[in-house]
């Protein structure tokens, strides 16, 4: 009997505590989690820190969670964010397919998720996805690539992470133009995981088998810079044209110096700030968000690099 009384007492205590918590959350500021694929890449650091800064500026509590490119760790972050009472998640996914289940969990818990830069392959999971228009950006680069090579030559493509939609959006945009020119032959296509050192190693290896290439198209600027290093070491930097994507500072400088031909300028700050503003609108009652909001990617070449090189 005494045990039953103890259990009932405990239950009453839990209910009272829960009630207190509900009352107090109405007066405490909303909490916004920023879950980012990796903080081991300056581009994503800018994305995460801008999202957190904007969120704080809007008057909310915020914390950055680093998934370290690991979907399992990302799942833990989602669990933590949901159980810790975060009211919204600004999210940069590790895997377009593997991350869907995490977003769905948040949705089921009533926590809105706003994707930044990286897409998840479902239109029914996130509240809204604010994404770089990588496909269109790479169509522009593809056109410039064909013009620069005068419609003929051998080239190599270095892909990013194979599980990331951006990798394929960029590749498909590029090929939607270049594949129409039979004089342009892709002699090798290999992943270098968006990594500078890996790109250098991969291209060094490819150059052993294909020393006579005319161009390298890279899925991001880190790989473009790695490719340039490999070409410089092989004494081919002057005759092989390198193309990147991202708009990273070192790539812009390389374009100015004639080492890299072109890149696609992305705007991580705009994506992060838009996601934070969407969270604010959600808290204020808005529900009809567009599922996908593309952010334009601008092609940067030697002709217009002066417009971008002083960009903060």
């Amino acid at each position: 009997m005494k045990r039953i009384i103890n259990i009932l007492f405990l239950l009453v205590l839990i209910v009272i505590t829960g009630g207190c918590k509900n009352q107090s959350t109405e007066n405490t500021p909303k909490k916004v989690a920023v879950i980012v694929s990796t903080l081991n890449n300056p581009w994503f650091v800018v994305l995460a820190e801008t999202a957190a800064a904007k969120t704080r500026a809007l008057g909310y509590e915020t914390k950055i969670f680093d998934s370290q490119n690991n979907t399992a760790l990302e799942a833990d972050h989602f669990e933590n964010a949901i159980t810790s009472g975060y009211n919204a998640i600004l999210f940069n996914s590790t895997d377009a397919d593997g991350s869907i289940v995490n977003v769905m969990k948040a949705k089921e818990a009533g926590v809105p998720v706003f994707c930044m830069d990286r897409e998840v392959n479902s239109t029914k999971a996130a509240t809204s996805q604010i994404l770089s228009d990588s496909y269109s950006g790479c169509i522009a680069i593809g056109k410039y690539f064909v013009q620069s090579l005068k419609k003929k030559g051998n080239y190599v493509e270095l892909l990013g992470l194979v599980g990331d939609n951006n990798t394929w959006a960029r590749s498909k945009g590029f090929h939607s133009v270049v594949d129409n020119y039979p004089g342009l032959k892709m002699v090798a296509q290999q992943s270098a995981d968006f990594d500078r050192n890996k790109a250098m190693e991969v291209l060094e290896s490819i150059l052993q088998a294909h020393p006579d290439i005319d161009a390298v198209f890279c899925g991001n600027d880190a790989m473009a810079m790695g490719a340039y290093q490999a070409l410089a070491a092989a004494g081919k930097a002057n005759r092989v044209k390198v193309f990147g994507f991202d708009g990273a500072d070192d790539a812009l400088q390389a374009i100015k110096e004639g080492k890299v031909m072109a890149t696609g300028m992305q705007y991580p700050k705009i994506m992060a700030e838009t996601a934070a503003l969407y969270a604010q609108k959600y808290f204020n009652g808005k529900r009809d968000f567009p599922q996908k909001v593309p952010v334009a990617v601008e092609m940067v070449t030697g002709e217009n690099v002066r417009n971008y090189i002083t960009k903060n």
Binding site: D97, I100, V101, E119, N121, S122, T123, K124, A125, I130, L131, D133, Y135, S136, I139, A140, G142, K143, V146, Q147, A169, K172, G173, S176, V177, Y267, I270, T274, P290, Q291, K292, V293, P294, V295, A296, V297, E298, N304, N307
Partner: protein
């Protein structure tokens, strides 16, 4: 059954229930299938869009010299009034029309000079690299979020561009010569932040010869 066995049985049932409810396995193909609609027929959709929406709405295009006059007077207002863009950013699209004299026939473009009053504008009509979303987006007639996925939406552009490459450009290129007078309707892309009206490239939707 002694007391210890009962405890073990209860513990086992508890672990089994918690374990069963903690882990669930779904096929990746099922997850992928969420949000993916039926197979999209690019050719059919693009043709219907071209015939029933794009061509009937070409009359709404703004005359190129009027656009430039307004642009020089008030850039922000002109972009807000006439430009279309699907999302956020500096790149925006306009559907323009005009008449002009062909100055040169180049390898990949045709240079045209247009004049309206004192206002003149040179532009390049694209005859080789017809790719990208200029026409789709300049039309302002399609909503990205009405499509199940981005790939299908991009395929609409590819379909429109194919019609232009196969049906608009060949007859134009075959006949055009320096000195020809033409009328045109098509899409242009302008960068709002870094505006440069000295190099405008038009993706043609309709080109007619006034004199050959």
């Amino acid at each position: 059954m002694n007391r210890r066995n009962i405890k073990l049985l209860v513990a086992f049932v508890l672990v089994a229930v918690v374990g069963y409810n903690s882990v669930y396995i779904r096929k990746l193909s099922e997850v992928k299938a969420q949000g993916v609609g039926t197979k999209f027929n690019t050719t059919k959709y693009s043709r219907e869009f071209w015939d029933s929406k794009l061509i009937p709405n070409l009359g709404k295009a703004i005359e190129v010299n009027q656009l430039m006059q307004e642009m020089h007077a008030d850039k922000d207002r002109t972009f807000n009034t006439y430009a279309h863009a699907l999302g956020i950013g500096n790149l925006q699209y306009f559907m323009i029309k005009g008449e002009g004299e062909v100055l040169a026939v180049n390898e990949n473009t045709v240079t045209v000079k247009t004049q309206a009053g004192a206002e003149t504008q040179n532009l390049q009509i694209e005859t080789e690299y017809v790719y990208g979303n200029a026409v789709r987006d300049a039309s302002g007639l399609l909503n990205m979020n009405a499509f199940d996925n981005t790939t299908e939406f991009n395929e609409v552009s590819a379909g429109i561009n194919k019609i232009i490459r196969e049906e608009v450009i060949p007859s134009f290129k075959k006949t055009v010569a320096a000195g020809s007078r033409i009328s045109f309707v098509g899409a242009i892309e302008l960068n709002k932040k870094f505006l440069d009206t000295s190099k405008i490239t038009l993706t043609p939707v309709q080109v007619k010869f006034l004199t050959k």
